[in-house]
Subunit: 330 residues, 2 copies
């Protein structure tokens, strides 16, 4: 059965029946707009993203179910990076009329599972036909106690720079795929089913541990630069301290540019944050509690937005940031 045999309204009705009623939802799917009651004293956080076939993903590399997971995860990650709690999901979805219901259902299964894992409810969206590529537009709303949202502009000289998880896994998987080689399953999972650090981000915000935070979508150096420029400070990274996974190391032997993947590789969706030195221990403890590696990778210094890297021998070099620019790549 193809999508065009089912129709838009049937698809929406089927979706509606699968979605549980969420906390704070007065009206969800099926009206002109969702109606939501936020917790008292909370501020609204909203993030929105598009994923487009052949730009952000390829069907021969990612299955529809993983794609559903990932489309939602990258937006949850943005809310986590503000120290917020994600709550509501809006899913816009366009594909050709000849798309099979099987593929659509797998995509929706992935998206709804990812949302449910973090107690996030689908409350709206849009479906339509696409003239070619699959197009996914996701909006996630969350909230945080008033005044507790963590922006990119709060880093101060003397802060430590910390990161969750490991770096470069997703980029290594992509590099190997592009090279027609097969990445370790663990790396492929990091690329296709990234884990948004929702609980870690929320707790960093609630406990006011992080002063500036971002999720790594463009690559460590580029995203650190976003923090440094917004905060008008410099950052010094210790090369030796950058955390990489065992699977990454395994493949690194055969990849000449592996250091670039650590520094510039995107889509890890780890949290990168700065904290006052006296809060470093609390950040590490929180990581332990959540079974998530947390690493101090550098310090914030006086300056105006430059990232520098110090290698094991003490040699210092500025990093030329080349984070992914959608319009400037071929």
């Amino acid at each position: 059965m193809e999508l065009k045999d089912l129709g838009e309204f049937q698809l929406i009705e089927r979706l509606r029946q699968r979605v549980p009623v969420g906390e704070g939802v007065q009206r969800g799917i099926g009206d002109d707009a969702a109606v939501i009651t936020l917790p008292e004293g909370h501020q609204l956080l909203t993030s929105t993203d598009m994923l487009i076939e052949s730009i952000h993903f390829r069907h021969d590399w990612i299955c529809p179910e993983d794609l559903g997971h990932k489309a939602v995860a990258v937006n949850l990650s943005d809310i986590a990076a503000m120290g917020g709690t994600p709550r509501y999901l809006y899913l816009g979805f366009a594909c050709p009329g000849t798309t099979t219901l099987e593929d659509i259902n797998a995509f929706l299964k992935g998206a709804l599972e990812e949302a449910a894992r973090y107690n996030v409810t689908l409350v709206g969206g849009d479906t339509c036909r696409s003239p070619g590529p699959w197009i996914i537009a996701v909006t996630v709303e969350g909230s945080t106690e008033a005044g507790r949202a963590i922006g990119r502009d709060g880093a101060q000289p003397g802060d430590v720079i910390m990161v969750s998880g490991t770096l470069g896994d997703s980029a290594m998987a992509l590099h190997l795929l592009q090279d027609n080689r097969s990445p370790a399953a663990e790396l492929l999972a990091r690329h296709h089913r990234p884990t948004p650090r929702v609980e870690f981000g929320r707790r960093l915000g609630k406990a006011q541990i992080a002063r500036a935070m971002i999720d790594i979508s463009d690559g460590l150096a580029g995203d650190l630069e976003h923090i440094l420029q917004a905060s008008q400070v410099d950052g010094l990274i210790e090369e030796q301290s950058l955390p990489v996974s065992a699977a990454f190391k395994y493949h690194a032997d055969q990849v000449a540019t592996w250091q670039d993947l650590v520094l510039f590789g995107g889509e890890d969706y780890e949290l990168l944050f700065t904290a006052a030195p006296e809060n470093e221990a609390a950040a590490l403890a929180l990581g332990s509690e959540l079974d998530l590696p947390v690493t101090r990778i550098g310090v914030v210094q006086d300056g105006s937005g430059t990232v520098s890297l110090r290698n094991g021998k003490g040699a210092l070099r500025p990093i030329l940031v080349s984070s992914y620019d959608h319009f400037c790549r071929p």
Copy 2:
């Protein structure tokens, strides 16, 4: 200059400089998520839509500036249809790297002007390259006093059915364009620059005049059916009372199917609502105050979701609804 020469981050920075700071905005463009403080005691309303080239629009029919206006207007219309006040805009936008900056700027000018007209602030979004079609993903957030949002499910037997403005103008313009004929300027404006009935909707909600409301995007009959089915009632429409414009009448002489355009034509973005009979006068008075025609077109009856039409001779027929289904059309 083409978009790929400017780059994504430059484009976002330029946009940021053009956008005024909005009420309630703690963080707007440039962080992982927007941070918003809603008015106390208000509920959040959110609507989201996609517009895709060759599905929703054609560049040879609509200029980029009008497209910007329309993309925002259709979402404002959804908030108006809930009786809410639109407040914040998130704009996702993808186009080929070869798109000229002139076209992008015209599109953004239209979108930002449309938002500004209704005191709506751009606070986030996403830009990326498209493999082909222009893709626009819009999210609008608004609010309403708690408990005052008007859904589709509140219609009651005995209610009058009312509509703002005139019907079929947008569909007539599209029909003539598809037929390689030139519509009157007024009709073309209705198709390319629809006016969301923001103030009328807000006031209908605030004064609790409307019991059920929807904006006409799929066509009168289809959207009325949405209200009737959600409310589990029937609706009887008086054919003679359906409001059409002078420009529509002018073209109707040469269009055999003009009645279908009135009943089934989409994209008028007028408000269709039901009200208790004792509130009909208040609705008409509000229309007069805002210089917006408002017409009583029928009544709600006991039933389970069927639309019927009575012609000038008193003959009654059920209407087979055929509102636009994105997946079922060729």
